[in-house]
Amino acid sequence: MRNWLVPAALVACAIALPFAAPTYYVQFVSKAFIMGILAMGLNLAVGHGGMVSLCHAAFFGLAGYILALLSPGYDAASLLLTLPAAMAAAAIAALVIGALALRTRGVYFIMVTLAFGEMLFFLFHDTGIAGGSDGAYVNAKPEIAIAGYRLLDLASPAAFYFVVLAFLIATIAVLTMLVRSPFGHALAAARDNERRARSLGFPIYRLRLIAFVISGAIAGLAGYFAAAQFGFVAPQMLGWHLSATVLVMVLIGGLRSVTGPLIGALVLIGLEEVLKASTDYWKLAEGLIVIAIVLALLGGVRQLWPMIFGARPDAPPSRRAASPVAEGHNG
């Protein structure tokens, strides 16, 4: 029972936030949650699947563009129609890119995903689709309406926040179930010892492709809400610098956990906010911090979090459950 106390308290705090904090912070936390969804989705591929992908920003941005393209002029788009469409587009892109990239391993995989991600970037940057390099506006936030009656309008920051929070919790739930399922164990087995997993008869290519597609669809979910929040999409949303930044979030939070990357996202976005406010050269500071984090991790510790606090935090149960599959677990 105690295992449920901390997550429940955190969720209660998250629900209470819009009633206690100014709108600016509600929007800021919404943004951090969206990046958290993206980071957790990416970690299904990176941490659980062992696939270091540098094209998740492309799935993220693609979904955002789908919302921009499907939004009817100055009217609000229907969330129930456009969200599935955006996630499906991201999933299809992940299926095609994944099917090709998974023919390779390791460092090749990184380079191939980076290149295909940039292909999508150039597709939106160089061609006239949705404004080219200038980007496009999402003039009205999506809504859920039945027969002209608005059930949910994302234009209110608090409503937007609650919807994002709901999807955040849903993402955690889905990912936790996936990682704990036989599918998740097989995926982890393929990551830890590909040859052994293959000789045990696991269809490794298919396992990894499925994980990659789900991961891409979750990135699409995040991209949809990012586009809705800012009301604007630009090719930079698809660029690989964002992919790499999200990888940093994953590394900060911990590769083997489900919710770790969410913490990583909150830490890094909070850090960026502080740096932007305090120095003009915030990218220099961020670069140095990224280098410092990586160098600190090279000490042989895989996770930064336990390093800072001395021990593995055992509050959220999902994190402990997501630890690497025990030897012989798959036999």
Binding site: V107, V112, M119, L123, L251, G287, I291, L295, L298
Partner: protein, 290 residues
């Protein structure tokens, strides 16, 4: 397309491919010997172009800019290897990716502090500044021809060093079987340092020679990084000959793609990459499982 236009486009393709080769060979060498994937490679290409602009503006000589730019990049490479890159040997690709990403952020910002974010141009050396009249209304810049020639000389030098010298032998042996080479008494800490510095210098050299025909702008490193990756994926990682093949293929695809299919030219090279991945996932000249 008449023969002269075709010839001009072919020259453009080869010239583009040769510059790509310079940059990509540095990347593939560093990966082949050090086993490190360096995302900051494109940043050094950009840095080379800015150094060329900066030094040429001060001294008025492109040649001084070239020599000094390469020397600076080489020294920066030596320093970076001994401070950061050394720690990445044998590590997860993920930490290599992120450390070099951190380096990109730092280099980009240092560039902005030193040179600003304006777009610059660099004048080619005076005696290479003219053009050759081909037909009544078609001429070809001498500098582009000079790039072709220069890059071919550098490429020949790289091949000679790798295939004919003792240093090349050590490099090839290291790429083949690092442990065995170490056991034979080769000091890999030293070899690694110089290979990394040479790789960085090659990237900077690419940026320097391209500066007079392209503009010098902040985002130029990113585009080059992606192209170098595609070259390496096409040719096979760690293989310098593969890099040459991949670079020429991309030069041809991109140049003639722009002529024949202008609307989709920007994604043609990725289609090429997808086809090679279906055909030979380890690259055209690649044989190792990576």
């Amino acid at each position: 397309m008449d023969l002269v236009t075709f010839g001009v486009q072919l020259l453009n393709a080869v010239q583009y491919g040769m510059v790509l080769f310079l940059v990509a060979s540095g990347l593939t060498l560093v990966f082949g010997i050090l086993g490190v994937i360096n995302l900051a490679h494109g940043a050094f290409y950009m840095l080379g172009a800015y150094l060329a602009y900066w030094i040429a503006a001060y001294t008025g000589s492109f040649w001084i800019a070239m020599v000094a730019g390469v020397a600076i990049a080489f020294v920066v490479g030596l320093v970076l290897e001994s401070v950061f890159i050394r720690r990445l040997y044998g590590r997860d690709h993920l930490v290599q990716v992120l450390l070099s990403f951190g380096l990109i952020l730092v280099i980009d910002e240092v560039r902005e502090i030193l040179f600003g974010k304006d777009v610059h141009s660099v004048a080619p050396p005076a005696w290479l500044a003219g053009s050759i009249q081909l037909t009544d209304n078609l001429s070809y810049p001498v500098y582009r021809l000079a790039i072709c020639g220069f890059c071919m000389i550098v490429a020949a030098l790289i091949f000679l060093v790798i295939t004919r010298t003792k240093i090349g032998m050590i490099v090839r042996a290291g790429a083949e079987n690092r442990e065995m080479t170490r056991v034979l008494g080769i000091r890999f800490d030293v070899v690694n340092r110089y290979v990394f510095a040479v790789g960085i210098a090659l990237a900077a050299l690419g940026g320097i020679v391209i500066a007079p025909i392209s503009t010098v702008f902040p985002g130029m490193g990113d585009g080059m990084l992606i192209l170098s990756f595609v070259v390496v994926v096409l040719g096979g990682i760690g293989s310098v000959a593969g890099a040459a093949v991949g670079a020429l293929l991309i030069g041809l695809t991109d140049t003639f793609g722009k002529v024949f299919f202008p609307s989709v030219s920007s994604i043609l090279i990725y289609v090429l990459m997808a086809m090679v991945l279906l055909w030979r996932p380890n690259g055209i000249l690649g044989r190792r499982e990576v």
